[in-house]
Amino acid sequence: MTTHESFWHKAFHLYYDGFRNMTLGRTLWLIIAIKLFVIFLVLKLFFFPDFISQHAEKGHESDFVAGELEQRMEPPVVPQGGQSED
C-alpha cells in the first residue's frame, strides 16, 4: 500500500514540479493551447462539419454514398453481365 501511494505521490510531483518549473515549456504550452483551441473550437466547429451526417438521413448513409457514386460513374458499357476475373 505504501509503495502504491508512493508511486502516485511521485507521479503527481513529477508533473506538478515539472509544470511549475517550466521556462521555455510555458511558451510552448501556450502555443499548443492556442493551436488546439483554433483547431477544435474554430476549424472543426465552423469549417469542418461531417458532410455525410449533414446531408444523409441517419441510417441511410450508404444510400447517400451509393447515390453520390452513381452520379459520378460513366454510363455503363456492360449493363447486364460482365467479365470474369480470368
Binding site: 508533473y15 514540479d17 511558451t27 510552448l28 483547431i39 462539419p49 460513366e74 456492360v78 449493363p79 467479365q83
Partner: protein, 521 residues
C-alpha cells in the same frame, strides 16, 4: 483577383488543401524522428559514462526537440477533419479500414509519447538514470510507431489489401488486419521514410553545431564537435540505408504501381534493359531495369504500354486501360442494379447474379469513374523532377556526411608539428575555433537544412502525385472520393490554413533560433 474564386474545381481545392496540410505536418515529423534518435544516442553516452557533459548536451538537443514536437502536435488532426468534410465518399467507402491504423496511431501517440515525454523533460532529478534513458528512447520509439501506423494507412491507399467490399453498406471491410498492417508496401515505405527522416535530424544537428563553430562560441564548442561526430555517423548510415530502402521501394512500386514508376521516369514506351535518366537525354544504362526488377535486362512498362496493356515477365497479362474501364463500369452498373434489386425485394437469383458481377470486376471498380484514359496518367513533370530532387539530395548527403567524418577523423589524427622542436606530435587543429572543419563546410551544412526538408518533401510528392488519379489505387479516383461541396468553401479554409500554418512556422523558427542562440546556458 479574388482568391476565393480562382478557376479551380472543388477537387483541386480539396487536393491543394490536403497537400498543404500534409506538407506542413511533414515539416515537423522527420525532425522529431531524426533528432529523437540522435538525442537518445547522446543520453546513452551519458548513461554509460556518467559524464555530465553528455547530460548537458542531451538536454540542449531535447529542448530543440521539444520546440519542434510542440509545434507539430495536432497538425495532423486537421487531415482527419478534411477526410470527413472534403473527402466524405472516400471516408465512408474505406473508413473501416483506413480508420483502424489511424485510431491505433492516436492511442499510441497519446499514451506512449505523452507519458514518456513528461518523464523525459520533468524526470531528470526524479527518476533513475536508466528509467530516464528508457523514457527518452521510448519517446522516440513512440513517435516512430506513430509514423508506422500513419504510413500503414497511406500504404493501404497505394496498395489496398486485406479487405472486401460490402455493397449493402457501401463500405470496404477488413478481412485481414495482418495483411493491412504488414503489407510489403507498408514495410518498404516505413523503412524508407523513417530512415530518411534520420537524415533530416542529422543535417539539423550538424548545421546547428556548425553555426556554433562558425561563431566561435567557446561554451558550445565541445558539444558542437561531439554532436557533429554522432550526427554525421547517423547521417551517413541513414543516407546509405535510405538508398537501399529506396531501391526496395522502387521494386514494390514497379510491381503494384507501374504507372507511378513510369511517370517518375517520364517513360512512355518501355522495354527491357532500360536506362535510368539523369535528366532528359542523359541516362545510366540498364539502371532503371535494375532499380525496378533487380535484373539489368528486366522489362519496365512505359505509360503507353500500361494504357495499351502488356505482358509481365511472369507471363500474366495486364489488361488495357479501356478493358479496365469497361470492367469498372460493369461493376458500377451491377452495384446500382444490386442495390435496386435489394430495395425492391427481388429474388435471390437476381441479387446474386449482380453480386457475382460486382465481385468479378471489383479489382477495376475505380476505372468505372474514368471518362478518358488520359486521366490515368499522373503529372509526369512533377514526378520526374521530384524523384530527381529526392535522389540527387540523397546522394549529396552521403557525400556530405562522408566529408564531415573525414575532417573529423583528420582532426583527431596526430601529426608532426614542425614548429615545435623535435617534431612533437600534436593534433593538427587547435583547441579553439572551428576544430578541423573549414568554414565553407560549416556554411554548407547550414545551407543543407532546407535541402534536407526539400528532399524529404520531394519523397512525399513522388508518392502522392505518382498515384494520381487514385485516392485508393484502382478502387476510387479523386473525382469519386470528393464531397459534393462548393469550391469557395474549400478555398476559404485553404487560405485560412495557409495563413495559420505560415504564422505557426514563423513562430517555431523564431523560438528555435532564439533557443539556438542561447545555447547551453
Amino acid at each position: 483577383m479574388n482568391l476565393l474564386t480562382l478557376d479551380l474545381s472543388a477537387i483541386d481545392w480539396a487536393r491543394a488543401q490536403f497537400a498543404l496540410t500534409a506538407i506542413y505536418h511533414w515539416l515537423f515529423v522527420p525532425l522529431t524522428l531524426g533528432l529523437g534518435l540522435i538525442m537518445s544516442i547522446m543520453e546513452t553516452k551519458y548513461y554509460r559514462t556518467g559524464d555530465a557533459f553528455w547530460r548537458k548536451t542531451t538536454q540542449f538537443w531535447q529542448r530543440l526537440f521539444g520546440i519542434n514536437f510542440a509545434m507539430g502536435i495536432a497538425t495532423g488532426i486537421i487531415l482527419e477533419f478534411e477526410f470527413g468534410t472534403n473527402w466524405s465518399n472516400y471516408s465512408w467507402f474505406v473508413g473501416d479500414i483506413f480508420g483502424a491504423p489511424l485510431a491505433i496511431e492516436g492511442i499510441v501517440a497519446f499514451f506512449m509519447e505523452s507519458t514518456f515525454v513528461a518523464v523525459m523533460y520533468f524526470g531528470w532529478e526524479k527518476v533513475s538514470r536508466s528509467f530516464h534513458l528508457a523514457s527518452t528512447w521510448l519517446t522516440w520509439l513512440g513517435a516512430t510507431i506513430s509514423a508506422w501506423w500513419i504510413l500503414v494507412a497511406n500504404s493501404w491507399m497505394q496498395y489496398p489489401v486485406g479487405c472486401e467490399f460490402n455493397p449493402d453498406t457501401m463500405r470496404n471491410e477488413m478481412t485481414s488486419f495482418a495483411d493491412v498492417a504488414l503489407s510489403p508496401f507498408a514495410i518498404d515505405k516505413f523503412c524508407h521514410t523513417a530512415i530518411s527522416s534520420w537524415i533530416v535530424g542529422a543535417v539539423f544537428v550538424v548545421a546547428v553545431s556548425g553555426w556554433y563553430l562558425l561563431k566561435r562560441r567557446e561554451a558550445e564548442r565541445e558539444m558542437a564537435l561531439k554532436s557533429i561526430r554522432i550526427a554525421a555517423i547517423v547521417g551517413l548510415i541513414a543516407s546509405v540505408l535510405a538508398g537501399a530502402t529506396g531501391h526496395k521501394s522502387a521494386q514494390t512500386v514497379a510491381a503494384v504501381q507501374p504507372m507511378k514508376l513510369a511517370a517518375m521516369e517520364a517513360l512512355y514506351d518501355g522495354g527491357t534493359a532500360q536506362g535510368l535518366k539523369i535528366v532528359e537525354g542523359i541516362e545510366v544504362p540498364y539502371a532503371l531495369s535494375f532499380m525496378a526488377t533487380n535484373d539489368f535486362n528486366g522489362f519496365v512498362p512505359g505509360i503507353n504500354d500500361i494504357l495499351k496493356g502488356y505482358t509481365r515477365a511472369d507471363g500474366t497479362v495486364e489488361p488495357s486501360a479501356q478493358e479496365k474501364m469497361e470492367r469498372g463500369r460493369a461493376a458500377l452498373a451491377s452495384l446500382a442494379a444490386y442495390r435496386k434489386a435489394k430495395a425492391e425485394g427481388a429474388d435471390d437469383t437476381t441479387v446474386n447474379c449482380q453480386l457475382s458481377i460486382i465481385n468479378s470486376n471489383m479489382p477495376y471498380f475505380g476505372y468505372g469513374f474514368i471518362k478518358d484514359e488520359a486521366e490515368l496518367v499522373p503529372p509526369v513533370a512533377v514526378n520526374f523532377w521530384a524523384f530527381r530532387v529526392m535522389v540527387g539530395f540523397g546522394g549529396l548527403f552521403i557525400l556530405f556526411f562522408a566529408v564531415i567524418l573525414f575532417f573529423d577523423w583528420r582532426k583527431k589524427r596526430p601529426t608532426p608539428n614542425p614548429s615545435r622542436e623535435g617534431g612533437e606530435l600534436l593534433p593538427i587543429t587547435g583547441e579553439v575555433g572551428r576544430g578541423a572543419f573549414p568554414a565553407w563546410l560549416l556554411w554548407l551544412s547550414i545551407a543543407l537544412v532546407p535541402c534536407a526538408y526539400i528532399c524529404s518533401e520531394s519523397g512525399w510528392l513522388v508518392a502522392e502525385f505518382g498515384r494520381q488519379p487514385w485516392t485508393i489505387q484502382d478502387m476510387l479516383p479523386v473525382g469519386a472520393s470528393v464531397s459534393d461541396i462548393g469550391s469557395s468553401a474549400v478555398a476559404t479554409t485553404f487560405w485560412l490554413f495557409l495563413a495559420l500554418f505560415t504564422t505557426m512556422l514563423a513562430v517555431e523558427i523564431n523560438i528555435m533560433l532564439k533557443q539556438i542562440k542561447r545555447g547551453t546556458e
